[in-house]
Amino acid sequence: MLEIKKLHASINGKEILKGLSLSVKPGEVHAIMGPNGAGKSTLASVLSGNQNYEVTNGEVSFYGKDLLSLPPEDRSREGVFLSFQYPVEIPGVSMTNFMRTAVNEHRKYKNLDPISASDFLKMMREKKELVELDNKLANRSVNEGFSGGEKKRNEIFQMAMLDPRLSILDETDSGLDIDALRIVASGVNKLRRSDNATIVITHYQRLLDYIVPDFIHVLYNGRIVKTGGKELALELEEKGYDWIKKEIDG
């Protein structure tokens, strides 16, 4: 579904992604690990259409469509979802209004009528249950005053509402307590199907016990420098990144 070929991207003139390639097929879970500053969030931002990043070379196709030519909203409507590493607080915009607008924009893209009020409420209720999101949170402004963990949970709630074909979870595990981690991971697992895929960006092997990946990639210095099975995470946990850095930097 997703083909990234030799992607180069920079921010403020500084090149961060330096020829990154990755291929994801339906039903797969890919984990991306790598040291701080390697470019993991940059990759997520570029895929979701953040205008602050400039793509200087390479291509990305999503189900055959040129993803990079689409505005962020169309990427979402095509089924790309990013769970932000740092979800944004938007005072004055209620969660309900936000989600209703988003769901209806997705429906419009598919030539469907706006969702009925009762169907929408039912959907909200079901998806809240999936990540055990507190009712009180769903009645507030988007992320406003949410704790770090609550924000992450809210990201997965939004993911459940929008039912994406490709989800990119950028450090969704960081800031979660152990119970929350289990809840969020089980939410993600429940949303897994043979026709959707997940990219999990994480620093910790722990999450991968819950969301079991088919592949683990190590992103370093703007490129994927190593790919392995789930056992690679254990090795990294044990040995850190130095041995890989040495291999690459020579």
Partner: protein, 446 residues
């Protein structure tokens, strides 16, 4: 510019007085003398530096000194009362109180008086004399002085001791004329001790000519009384709306004032609230949505003359195209007004490079045991928030709307009449979408 009006007054003063509410005549010559001395305000004055009124004041307007009735039946043309709002409804057409009262107004509680200054001036001259001009007559302000010289009538409302009005009073100002036209009116609102009332003032224009409205409103809020004042301005781009709202609060009274400019030409609101008793609560809010060449200047003063009062001020502007906004937040705390708590916020979003905002806090604090804060920001829409919304499939246009709407939200929350709040939400949303926010089925607002 002033001379033509000075000549007019000298020539026509007998007619002005003959057709006027008589209590207004007691102040007239004094006001005229003041106007002759100071003239119209110019941008050279500190208090008017964000209000350039030269152009609208130099236009040639007709005045209706002889009070010739205006051929319009507001009940026929005005269909835009806020749906769901049950109000006591009154009209001022140009500067005259429309005499035919809505039968629903018969339900006003015993002792409440609502009517024209002219009529009530005859039936209750003493009541009016006790209040009229007490806040306005000494103001060194050219617009107020001019109003004092030329205003002949206005809206009057009196709520006796401990009487509670269970629905808002709605005053609709309608401007209707075939030629460029000027209206001056003087309104008077009195709440006795423990009274409770809400007044909703709507400004509308019917015709596509130049209008200049110069209105002065005095409000007296007695001890323990609660008063809410809402002003909704939705007029045409050729209208200049000059409005002076002067309020006095006595001990333990509560006031909420919320002035909303949705559509206009040139607007100048002067709002002054004097806290003349202890333990007063004051909330003063406002919101402006401006585009094209609209100009809106809110000049506000809160005078903490007594200790132990709380005031909160919040103004928000969304300015597009070439529109220009002005805000002054004057906060005066007298030497003895200890334990004053006063908070002021003015936030502004500029949607175009050409839009401009002038904002100025003006703090004069003479007491030492006070909690005061003020903050002003001028910025653009939050790009990061916009991207977050877009990343969920919301179009850029819709994302901008959501953010602008969210920006005005806390002002709208300070509308404590539910039906009005719902209505204003709708009007604001339409306005932000670039649709004219005229009320549905309404033939009157342009």
């Amino acid at each position: 510019m002033e001379q033509q009006y000075i000549d007019l007054y000298k020539e026509q003063q007998a007619n002005v007085k003959m057709h006027s509410a008589s209590p207004l005549n007691d102040l007239r010559d004094g006001s005229f003398a003041l106007f002759e001395r100071i003239g119209f305000p110019t941008i050279k004055l500190e208090n008017y530096k964000y209000s350039d009124l030269k152009e609208p004041l130099s236009a040639d307007y007709g005045l209706n000194i002889n009070r010739i009735p205006i051929p319009v039946n507001p009940y026929e043309v005005f269909k835009c009362d806020v749906p769901g709002i049950k109000s006591f409804l009154y009209f001022v057409v140009n500067d005259g109180f429309y005499p035919v009262s809505d039968p629903r107004n018969n339900a006003l509680p015993e002792g409440v008086i609502v009517g024209s200054l002219k009529e009530v001036g005859k039936s209750h001259p003493d009541l009016i004399a006790r209040y009229l001009g007490k806040l306005s007559a000494k103001k060194e302000d050219g617009l107020v002085a001019f109003n004092g010289a030329f205003a002949q009538d206005g809206f009057f409302m009196y709520v006796p001791k401990n009487v509670v009005l269970d629905r808002p009073v709605q005053l609709v100002n309608i401007m209707r004329s075939d030629v460029d036209f000027m209206a001056n009116s003087h309104n008077l609102v009195i709440l006795e001790e423990g009274a409770k009332a809400q007044l909703l003032v709507c400004d509308h224009t019917v015709d596509d000519v130049k209008f200049l409205c110069n209105r002065v409103t005095e409000v007296f809020v007695g001890e323990n009384a609660t008063y809410e004042h809402y002003k909704l301005e939705n007029t045409n781009t050729k209208t200049t709306n000059l409005s002076t709202l002067l309020m006095q609060q006595l001990a333990s009274s509560t006031v909420l004032a919320n002035v909303i400019t949705l559509h206009n030409g040139i607007t100048r609101n002067t709002i002054e609230i004097a806290l003349d008793g202890q333990h007063c609560e004051t909330t003063l809010c406002g919101m402006v949505i401006g585009d094209k060449n609209q100009k809106v200047d809110n000049f506000t003063s809160i005078l903490h003359n007594q200790p132990n009062c709380n005031s909160k001020e919040l103004f928000k502007y969304v300015l597009d195209d070439m529109s220009v906004g002005g805000f002054t937040g004057k906060l005066f705390v007298a030497k003895d007004a200890q334990k004053t708590a006063a908070f002021q916020t003015n936030r502004n979003i500029l949607l175009s490079k050409m839009a401009r905002m002038n904002t100025k806090p003006q703090l004069e604090i003479y007491a030492d045991d006070v909690k005061c804060s003020h903050g002003a920001t001028v910025g653009q829409l939050d790009e990061i928030a916009k991207f977050y919304l877009q990343s969920r499939g919301i179009s850029e246009k819709e994302a901008r709307l959501l953010l602008m709407f969210a920006f005005t939200n806390d002002v709208i929350e300070n509308i404590r009449i539910e039906a009005l709040q719902d209505r204003i939400k709708l009007l604001v949303e339409k306005r932000l979408r670039g649709e004219l926010s005229k009320c549905e089925g309404c033939v009157i607002c342009q």
